[in-house]
């Protein structure tokens, strides 16, 4: 057992080189930086947006428009006595986002025909955060519309309730998941799930690919630096060597996962800051629907991740036996990357359960699918699917570790590459 730890220590020492740590550090710093910048930009968009208005009508109705706009978190600049072209030029110069032009004769049309209002949106970029600045204007327009409509109703049908005429339909949305239900709109649920679950697959993908690269790399450098032969002649069981490689690479992969998570948290909170997180009513509804991970759920998720990493590591250890130097690591681990990419994209875009039987079998045969499906399955309380996936991965781990230690125990570990070459 002591010798096993000696081997693990060496594996970790070999993998934690400055060449490996530096890119990791750079990525994390970049994440934190982007997160910080995005956060401050998002905060900026939460401030009142500067818009302009040119009223050429000068009536009560046109005043109503300006009034509604200013109530909607918009900083209003009023232009007067100039042409729309001049107003637009000034709006550009003053860095306004939107210019509303109310033409002369606006109110006169107010008797049945639609009124016309010109809106100039001055677009300076296409970013996600940039587009948010126009949202408050959209909300304001809807309010203008309904304010005008109320006026019109009051005038044409004084005895009716304008609110009913405006929207005669009252909806009450209920979302049902399994045996649970809650009064909340489905778009709110989907939004919540997608912010929650974009995170898990990315981390899963990064950790699985990184772990397999690491272990294949450790095999390859062992061959490239010609240390393998010496190691194999040492009085240590080959099973201990296999286990030490798995544990060493697993530990380093886990460490990087934690570092990534830390960086990503900054990044994500930066992006979502100011987007308005859920109200307490909404979070009550999510709780009712069971859409929140309990401690046991997190433990289960961790177990799934652990087995997915083990599968990746044991496959890569076998693949790594084919690598003869660090350069060939990318090549030999490429098939594994496909096995991770396929379920990553499929689970991102499709409902696996609605696929045809053949495709479904194909997806379920890929061990990593079960890792990507675990989080949604846990949220949907489909625990049996999670446990089947776990069992399947556990069986594969046993098989692959067995094959890996067979390769290590025979002289295949020394000769694999040669045979491989001849076959080509």
């Amino acid at each position: 057992m002591r010798k096993f730890f000696v081997l693990v220590k060496k594996e970790v020492q070999e993998l934690l080189t400055p060449q490996m740590l530096l890119p990791l550090l750079i990525i994390v710093v970049a994440f934190v930086f982007i997160g910080k910048v995005a956060g401050s930009e998002a905060a900026k968009t939460a401030e009142p947006q500067p818009v302009g208005i040119l009223d050429l009508d000068h009536t009560n109705t046109s005043a109503l428009v300006a009034q509604t706009l200013s109530k909607n978190n918009l900083k209003l600049t009023e232009f007067s006595e100039i042409s729309p072209e001049e107003a637009l030029q000034q709006a550009k110069n003053q860095d306004l986002k939107i210019l509303f032009v109310i033409p002369a004769g606006f109110e006169r049309g107010f008797s049945g025909k639609p009124l016309s209002l010109s809106i100039y949106t001055i677009l300076k970029n296409f970013s996600f955060i940039g587009s948010r600045s126009t949202q408050s204007a959209t909300v304001a327009l809807a309010q203008i519309n309904s304010a005008l409509s109320r006026e019109l109703i009051a005038e044409k049908a004084p005895q009716a309730d304008p609110a009913v005429l405006q929207s005669p339909l009252r909806t009450e949305e209920t979302v049902v998941i399994g045996s649970r239900e809650a009064k909340i709109s489905v778009s709110a649920v989907m939004g919540f799930i997608s912010t929650q679950s974009t995170f898990i697959p990315i981390v899963l993908f990064l950790v699985i690919t990184f772990a397999s690269q690491l272990i294949a790399l450790s095999m390859a450098t062992e061959k490239e630096n010609k240390t393998l032969e010496t190691l194999l002649s040492a009085p240590v069981s080959r099973q201990a060597m296999v286990a030490a490689k798995l544990v060493g690479a697993g530990l380093v992969a886990l460490l990087t996962a934690v570092v990534y998570l830390f960086g990503m948290r900054y990044y994500i909170t930066g992006l979502t800051a100011g987007a308005g997180s859920g109200t307490t009513a909404a979070s009550d509804a999510f709780n009712q629907l069971g859409l929140v991970f309990s401690a046991a759920d997190y433990a289960l998720l961790g177990l799934v991740l652990f087995f997915a990493i083990l599968v990746a590591l044991s496959i890569s250890l076998i693949l790594g036996a084919f690598a003869e130097d660090a350069k060939s690591v990318q090549g030999v681990t490429a098939p594994l990357m496909f096995l991770v990419l396929i379920p990553y994209f499929l689970t991102l875009f499709l409902d696996i359960n609605s696929l045809s039987l053949g495709l479904k079998a194909f997806v379920y045969a890929i061990p990593f699918s079960h890792a990507f499906l675990a989080a949604p399955n846990i949220l949907l309380k489909d625990y049996s699917a999670v446990f089947w996936g776990l069992g399947y991965m556990a069986v594969l781990v046993v098989i692959f570790i067995y094959i890996a230690s067979r390769i290590f125990s025979s002289d295949k570990i020394m000769t694999l590459k040669l045979n491989f070459r001849r076959k080509r």
Binding site: V6, K9, K10, E14, T227, S233, L418
Partner: protein, 241 residues
């Protein structure tokens, strides 16, 4: 009991035999050298005895333990220095020695003892605290050699031990091997350096095309072939085959 007994040992890579049936023995405390042209099968034989490669046919025992069936016991008795060996470049010389020592030692104090002994042999002094990637070829070779003998194995299997070393260092290494052998270590080595072999070995085996053509003391072989030195013996055997 003999340190090594080899009976009709063969190794095939695909159809081609790298070792086509060799027989020899090494007595306890003896230094036995395999000499032969490039590709003769020296390293392959040594690897089989070091439990790195599995024999295709035949049998070899080390202090009575079968190299194939009892490789665990064999590994506890031997120490193997591969022909083209390297060390973990990210470790310092001392870290490498302690790593290897801890794999062999039964206790931490024994490991420390191994490291102290090896550090002495390397003659690297303060450079032992430097990363191995900064070492020259000869420095690395000396480190590896020290690593191989630090555990005072019952049998040392050394594939071209002094290759890449300068004259002074090679001389020093030879005398260390000699000394350890007198203290009870048996040695199987291969070499292309005839001077080294005449100085070091008690007996010599001449291997060619995967077969052993002659074994005996250097003196006996020279007498048999009417040669002035081992080089001539070697030449005559290879020419006549």
């Amino acid at each position: 009991m003999n340190a090594v007994e080899v009976n009709d040992l063969k190794k095939f890579f695909g159809k081609a035999p790298a070792v086509a049936g060799v027989d020899f023995y090494i007595a306890e405390r003896e230094i036995f050298a395999l000499i032969g042209p490039n590709g003769a099968g020296k390293s392959t034989t040594l690897r089989m005895l070091a439990t790195i490669l599995q024999p295709s046919e035949g049998r070899a025992t080390i202090f009575g333990y079968d190299v194939q069936k009892e490789s665990g016991q064999v590994r506890r008795l031997i120490s193997y220095l591969p022909e083209e060996a390297g060390a973990y470049k990210t470790l310092t010389g001392r870290q490498y020695l302690s790593f290897m020592a801890e794999l062999y030692a039964d206790s931490l104090s024994q490991a420390k003892e191994y490291v102290a002994f090896a550090s002495d042999i390397t003659g690297l002094g303060p450079r032992l605290s430097d990363k191995i990637r900064t070492y020259s070829k000869g420095m690395t070779r000396k480190l590896l050699l020290a690593r191989a003998v630090m555990t005072r194995p019952k049998l040392a299997i050394l594939d071209e031990p002094t290759s890449g070393l300068d004259v002074i260092n090679a001389l020093e290494i030879r005398s260390i091997i000699r000394k350890l052998s007198r203290e009870g270590m048996s040695v199987l080595l291969s070499s292309h350096n005839m001077l080294e072999i005449e100085f070091l070995s008690d007996r010599v085996g001449i291997i060619h095309q995967g077969r052993i053509y002659e074994t005996g003391t250097a003196e006996a072989l020279k007498a048999k072939y009417g040669a002035r030195n081992l080089e001539e013996v070697f030449h005559k055997i290879v020419e006549n085959s």
